[in-house]
């Protein structure tokens, strides 16, 4: 790990001002991504701004029945919150399926949604990677790409986004509250991410120094009836091969509202709008779910080792929808 400087501001203004203008400055909270990548020299900040003293850890009910989660709330805090578990089960389940108890005690939800890809070439500095160094090439295209994406890729990057939480959050219409030198703004979580295109190094729309202050979960009938299905190599403590977050509002045996998001199959948490459209107004039965699952894999293509993700997605979507419908 490179030598670094360290500061612990007591207020957001200091943190944001410093992170916005100082070369090599980076926020640190839980540290589970930053320290890991610093050891690998994939990230080489010169100044770490420890934001853990900022008052951004509370989980509170919003007037409309939603939940506002401070960005510094840990994954464990959020998973254990009754507010989250009752109104947004997909979020609690995605968190409990993530990482290990230790990491969940450390990692914050603001950091979780910004975690970097687990692509082994991204993490190995001896290998070309367009995300680390644009223009160097993508080693995964013709390399070991079993964990890589099957949709939303570009000729320059086929990495997958590993966040279970973000996949779940999309289905409950989560909003990201941020603050920067130019003020506060609210971004739909879905719009936080950008696809690699020809700039895989750009992963989100946040400005330099822009700080995530909170994530807001919006109440809805579909959010209350939601579930998360994670398919992985081990039963616990493993990243997803494919995951599906589903939220369904059902009335009189008919799907009234639907949200479906796919994890670990795209460079960003992937909202499957066309799957949602294929569900709304349809009867709640396996035929509906099977045809929606068929829609989910439209446009997917594999790169060799990850071809299996396409049939796996089809099966996982169908199963996740059945699971979710059974909750109603």
């Amino acid at each position: 790990m490179n030598p670094i400087r360290y500061a612990r501001p007591g207020d957001a203004g200091d943190a944001i001002a410093t992170a916005s203008v100082e070369q090599g400055a980076q926020y640190i909270a839980g540290g589970t991504t930053v320290i890991d990548l610093m050891k690998l020299h994939v990230e080489e900040p010169e100044l770490l701004i420890d934001i853990t003293e900022l008052p951004m850890r509370a989980i509170s009910a919003t007037p409309g029945g939603g939940v506002r989660i401070g960005a510094l709330a840990t994954m464990a805090d959020v998973a254990d919150s009754p507010l989250v578990a009752s109104g947004f089960p997909v979020v609690a389940q995605a968190l409990l399926d993530s990482a290990s108890p230790q990491l969940r005690n450390m990692a914050t939800i603001g950091g979780n949604v910004l975690q970097r890809t687990r692509c082994s070439y991204f993490r190995d500095k001896s290998q070309p990677c367009n995300k680390r160094k644009p223009g160097r090439g993508c080693s995964a295209l013709d390399g070991q790409n079993r964990f890589h994406s099957v949709i939303g890729t570009s000729p320059h990057c086929i990495c997958s986004h590993p966040s279970d939480l973000a996949t779940g959050l999309i289905t409950v219409d989560a909003l990201v509250h941020t603050r920067s030198l130019v003020g506060a703004r609210v971004i739909a979580l879905e719009d936080l991410y950008v696809l690699p295109g020809d700039r895989p190094d750009i992963e989100h729309v946040l400005r330099r120094g822009e700080l995530i202050e909170a994530i807001e979960l919006q109440p809805s009938a579909h959010a209350r009836n939601s579930a998360y299905l994670k398919v992985r190599d081990r039963a616990s403590y493993e990243f997803a091969l494919v995951s599906v977050a589903a939220a369904l509002a059902v009335e009189a045996g008919t799907v009234r509202e639907a949200r479906v998001a796919l994890g670990s199959v795209a460079p960003k948490p992937w909202r499957a709008h066309d799957v949602e459209a294929a569900l709304i107004g349809k009867p709640v039965n396996d035929a509906t779910f099977a045809s929606a699952a068929e829609v989910a894999v439209r446009g997917m293509h594999g790169y060799g080792h990850n071809d299996y993700k396409i049939p796996m997605t089809r099966a996982a979507v169908r199963r996740a929808l059945s699971m979710t419908a059974a909750r109603a």
Binding site: V21, A76, P101
Partner: protein, 283 residues
Amino acid sequence: MRSDETKLHPLGKSTPDAKIGTPTKKGWTSIGIFDRPTDSSAPRWEKGPFLGSLPSLGRLSRTAPGQVTAPGAVFGFDVPGKGRAMSHLSRRWFLVRAVAPALVLGLRPQLVCAAAVATVTRLSRVGPQPSPVALSINGRTVSVDLEPRETLLDTLRDKLGLTGTKKGCDQGTCGACTVLVDGKRVNSCLTLAIMTQGKSVTTIEGLASGETLHPMQRAFLEHDGFQCGYCTPGQIVSAVGLLSEHRPTDDASVREWMSGNLCRCGAYANIAAAVQSVAGGAT
């Protein structure tokens, strides 16, 4: 302001033996890396809106002794008079607020940056050289010279001689380095030691009371919950953390909630039995 608040540790936490706390600039007390106003009537930054209206020019015109850059100079404003030290709030507020619209309007970036850098000079830092930091380890406060990049794991093992905590993967994958921070189990390999300041760290060495083993340590002995033993301290500390989380104690739950601790010898059956024996209250 309470008198003890001027005796702050270099990293902002109050410690009984802190040496720093001498008044420097007018109206300020140096507390190492974090300067705070000694005047309790000074406006509290965190209570105000971050980007509100500009403060009055009267406040802007005050200059602080020892101030690196007068805000007016940066922006070409007239800076008349010599008032008392500009308050902690107004200098920063002016700069941050002045910088923000400038960024929006696309003004000369070097000018903007100069102003913003002047703003943040107030945020002091430590490192990369070591500096003395007080840590609370197993109930004792120890002073240790730390580089900011040092992990808690390396500090425990290499500087404090607490080698019970093991380095396995060193990347948050195996759990051999598990310690409790404020009672919660964490991976010490992904924790910067400097960030545990003001928190209470418990390692495997801190579990026993004198010669009396912690019930979880005894259970691992009784159930033969190890083979080579390398993962064992992490397993035991993790299991102690698990106890305080009040999770279900059936076999599947214990395995799930202990999944952050890998055992390459595969002693899982006995580990799970040991944990269950304590968690279920039947030692």
